[in-house]
Amino acid sequence: MILCSPLCLCKLFLEREEFYLSKKQLISRLLQIVVVLIGISFITFLLTYVSPGDPVRHMLTASGTMPTDETVNAIRQEMGLNDPFFTQYFRWVGNCLHGDFGDSYMLHKPVVTLLAARLWPTLKLTIFSVILMLIIAVPLGMISAVYKDSWIDYLVRGITFLGVSLPNFWVGLLLMLAFCVKIQIFPVISSGGDFKSMVLPSLTLAIAMSSKYTRQVRTAVLEELSSDYVIGAKARGVKSWKILWLNVFPNSLLPLITMLGLSIGSLLGGTSVVEVIFSYPGLGNLAVSAITSCDYYLIQGYVLWVAVIYMVINLLVDLSYYFVDPRMRLKR
């Protein structure tokens, strides 16, 4: 329900007048996305323009030729890299609007093709790690809230305190050391894309996220438990497990949705650190190699992709409250 498809949401928006985000708000949000995209693309373009690295020199070195100033300059001229900044910027924006995001200098393929190829692995990793994280965080948070101030609560809280300080790349390396090197049950290089190669990267991400979420679940459940309707239900003699699972549990998930949206948004941008550790063929890994080899069009394309997906998911999260929170349907 939470992950309702965008299409269905749009249809619903058109059919119903009493939608929680008014049309005006929705339009202003969409406009905001466009403004942010223009701003972000301008900043990254400006940075690549003033940066000390030279993509042509990189390209020539990579193909094994010694770059001389003359050849470099000739190729720069040919590729239009010597044109004034605004000429280059508007040419690129114009091409983007026609769906052409340029070709990668490094891999000599269209940026769109390269990004699209990495999309599925990153999506798989995102879904997998979020599910794993929820499996860890939700029960822990609930137990900790229900048995507040008992030893188990202190234990869970202690672990989450340590957990938020754990660098995720260190977790990844330790997991790798334990499960790939010592007991060899998982492959060191997760480029296969099968189930086995997904386990460790998603576990790393799940561990890194779960501390934050466990705390959040605990706070939310505690808040629900102290509300009047729970006391009322208890007074009427409703069994406490029924209150917990039928009332408290669904209600305490509501505040998590915004947080989940943010996490999913940034996971879909690829999680460079974890992907690099496990050599996972995702977007983050592609981005890191694009940045190291000054592959400017690819960097631009990647940054735009992340910005779009992040903002669209945030918008969907706001819209999704319509389904999960009936109060929103009454508001107008």
């Binding site: 701003g39 305190f161 660098p167 790349f169 960097i299 992040y310």
Partner: protein
């Protein structure tokens, strides 16, 4: 008498304050703590040695002493993360107060730029910026600051907006207080405490982000002793020399735990509501 009471009353804070001071002292007196061993001196005859009485944390592929490198690494980590927090604190505070106090186009310009930065996962932009500008600790600090200041600016702005149109503020303006006086005596003290708490709790996460950038090769460059970089260098020798990645990781972990706990306990003292 009063001071003693304070430290006894807030035991967690005191404990972590002492630990944090110890870490800072370690960084300052790194040459003494490491026993005079040069963290960049390589000796290929002693490459990749397991921890022993001579090298208690072992040596890396260049024969450099890991213990000395971990100790010296605290310098880079601490100075860089303190600089980030200082930069974003000052920039965010000033821009936030200006936006909140003057409103109008000043507010629009500052806040639209901030919104743009926030509508974007921070580390991705930091990665791009640090990578494009070229790998160095300074560029990594600038990149992380660039994506973090909007959080502080928004916070400062909202705190200023809360009191901007109170009667006593209007009264002060009407009675002829200069703008600078209004900003420094009325607006600043109002925004400061919350921002200090935020900055204190942020030091740990700044350290993690910095180490992550260095790990990916967009921060410190060899042969600088930096924890994230050491982990990335040690990765290749995971099988034969696990100590290369255990000790630097442990150093990051412990330091971040200490500063996170210090920040949290400071927040509990200054702002009891949040608990």
């Amino acid at each position: 008498m009063k001071k003693e009471n304070f430290f006894l009353k807030y035991k967690t804070f005191t404990i972590f304050l002492i630990l944090a001071i110890l870490i800072v002292l370690t960084a300052i007196f790194a040459p003494v703590v490491s026993g005079g061993v040069d963290p960049t001196a390589s000796d290929l005859t002693q490459a990749i040695e397991a921890p022993s009485s001579e090298h208690i944390f072992g040596t890396d592929k260049m024969g450099r002493d890991i213990y000395a490198r971990v100790i010296y690494g605290s310098r880079v980590s601490l100075t860089a993360s303190f600089s980030i927090v200082a930069i974003v604190f000052v920039v965010g505070l000033v821009l936030g107060i200006l936006a909140g106090y003057f409103g109008g186009w000043v507010d629009t310009v500052i806040m639209r730029i901030a919104d743009m930065m926030i509508a974007f996962p921070g580390l991705v932009l930091a990665l791009a910026v640090a990578g494009i500008m070229g790998a160095s600790v300074r560029n990594a600090v600038l990149a992380i600051s660039l994506v973090t200041w909007p959080k502080y600016a928004r916070l400062a702005r909202s705190l200023v907006m809360k009191i901007r149109h109170r009667d006593y503020v209007d009264a002060a303006i009407v009675t002829g207080s200069k703008t600078f006086y209004m900003l420094s005596r009325y607006m600043l003290p109002n925004a400061l405490p919350t921002l200090v708490i935020t900055a204190a709790t942020d030091i740990g996460s700044m350290m993690l982000e910095l180490a992550a950038l260095s790990f990916l090769g967009f921060g410190a460059i060899p042969p600088t002793p930096e924890w994230g970089l050491m982990l990335s260098e040690g990765r290749a020798y995971m099988q034969s020399a696990p100590w290369l990645m255990i000790f630097p990781g442990l150093a990051i972990f412990i330091t971040v735990v200490v500063f996170n706990m210090l920040g949290d306990s400071l927040r509990d003292i200054l702002d009891p509501k949040s608990e």
